[in-house]
Symmetry: C2
Subunit: 240 residues, 2 copies
DNA sequence: CGCGGAGTTGAGATTGTTCAAGGATTGTGG
DNA sequence: CCACAATCCTTGAACAATCTCAACTCCGCG
């Protein structure tokens, strides 16, 4: 997906996504872009189910490949997922905001991350990371709304639109199609729905012509229509 | 409730609750306690429905009297409440964490607040406020859990236990009884339930001997039992 | 070739919503 | 002091949304 768009000799393609993510959160100087591309730390590999962040870790990390989530375990083998962590995302704690392990960050697929704490010294990068932190906070409120105020159809649609948007922002949505490497049960754990009902709702979205799906991907061919249909507003409108 | 416990000549009793709230979040020096008691700013009065925080306000405030909430409006006259703001609570933005109006803070009853931004220069107060901010963040995750993973009975019980605990921490729960000056519809807007179902659930809690209610107050006579029954764990257990 | 994981579908039970109505309480004006 | 309106609480009955259980398919993989 990425290797085709090589304008300059990029040595570490796996840092391209965090770079794009930060760049679309705030302007970066050429120095800062270079600092990101030159990150020399070893990558950390997590198997599905492993923790992306060690319990005491208060650093910052980029997600390079694979999906993760923030969640809290429930009794039995149930859990509530609070947010999905996508390739390119920044995870961990900003220095000023020592919000320790109020939730667990866990890999949902095979995933790789890299330590990015050193980059906080660059003002543009710090500003961009702060902006991303605020976006994540806003998405948490979106999630509260999905769980508390939306029915299954609206909730699933909202979530897919959010994930679609997050992919599109960093150039990972070709033709309204984006990667979705986790199963329907994970959608259920996020939305507070049973796997069966998630399935029925996806079927309904498909029947309405709003969704196409294949192994490991979704596509929202009429994303604009769907957004209007379920009242999905991209980022702001809460300013005021 | 408060005026009886006057050991030293306290001139401004209305600052007693924020003081207690901060004190139970982190140790305060005598100077810091005095600084809180001497807050000279004018009190701000909000009628039910008014905003507690002006849209651009990025300061810190104490809630002195009355209840408020954080919420987002929905289409029509519906809304989703994210959290309740109680007397003694700190609201607003910490300096390092410029998370602007991702939600609205609104009065649910007649309420008074006071500007507390000046107190941030005291390190003990700043630390306590940071700890309270983290508690609030944790309660947001609790709320996600209630909405996503709990049924009505568990959700209502959890929420009442939380509010009971928050009152008890600052000495406002006489005999497991605490103030609850908002109606059942507000509980519904918080829990994503209809007013009718909230009512039926409260009735059920009462029938089970877990709840007593009167105009403007609730009581949880067997809070321990109820907490065990619905799996309510006070603050931590997420550390790790 | 068979096995396991993920997606799909049906039928019945459970939970929660809506609409509608009736009681209780309180504040207000006559 | 009483009538009245407003607000909140309570209850019933029909309806809709969602869950559970159980089966069955499809496909990739050893």
């Amino acid at each position: 997906l990425l290797s085709t768009s090589s304008s300059s000799p990029v040595r570490k393609g796996y840092l391209e996504l965090p770079l794009r993510r930060l760049a679309c959160a705030g302007p970066l100087s050429a120095d800062e872009e270079a600092a990101i591309r030159d990150l020399a730390h070893p990558r950390r590999i997590s198997a599905r189910g492993d923790r992306l962040l060690a319990p005491g870790d208060d650093g910052l990390h980029f997600v390079l490949e694979g999906w993760g989530c923030q969640m809290r375990p429930l009794d039995g083998n149930r859990r509530q997922i609070f947010s999905f962590l996508l390739p390119g995302d920044v995870i961990g704690c900003l220095p000023g905001d020592p919000a320790p392990s109020l939730s667990q960050s866990v890999a949902l697929t095979h995933a790789t991350t890299i330590d990015a704490s050193a980059l906080i010294v660059y003002p543009g990068i710090k500003a961009a990371m702060t902006a991303l932190h605020i976006s994540a906070q806003s998405r948490l409120f979106d999630q509260l709304l999905r769980l508390g105020a939306h029915g299954a159809y609206e909730g699933v649609a909202h979530l897919l639109l959010e994930i679609y948007t997050r992919h599109a922002e960093i150039g990972l949505a070709e033709d309204s199609r984006f990667s979705f490497p986790v199963g329907q049960e994970r959608l259920g754990e996020m939305l507070g729905l049973s796997e069966v009902h998630v399935n029925r709702t996806l079927t309904r979205l498909r029947a309405d012509g709003h969704l196409a799906a294949g192994p490991g991907w979704f596509s929202l061919p009429r994303a604009e229509d769907l957004a209007a249909r379920v009242g999905f507003t991209p980022s702001p409108a809460w300013m005021a």
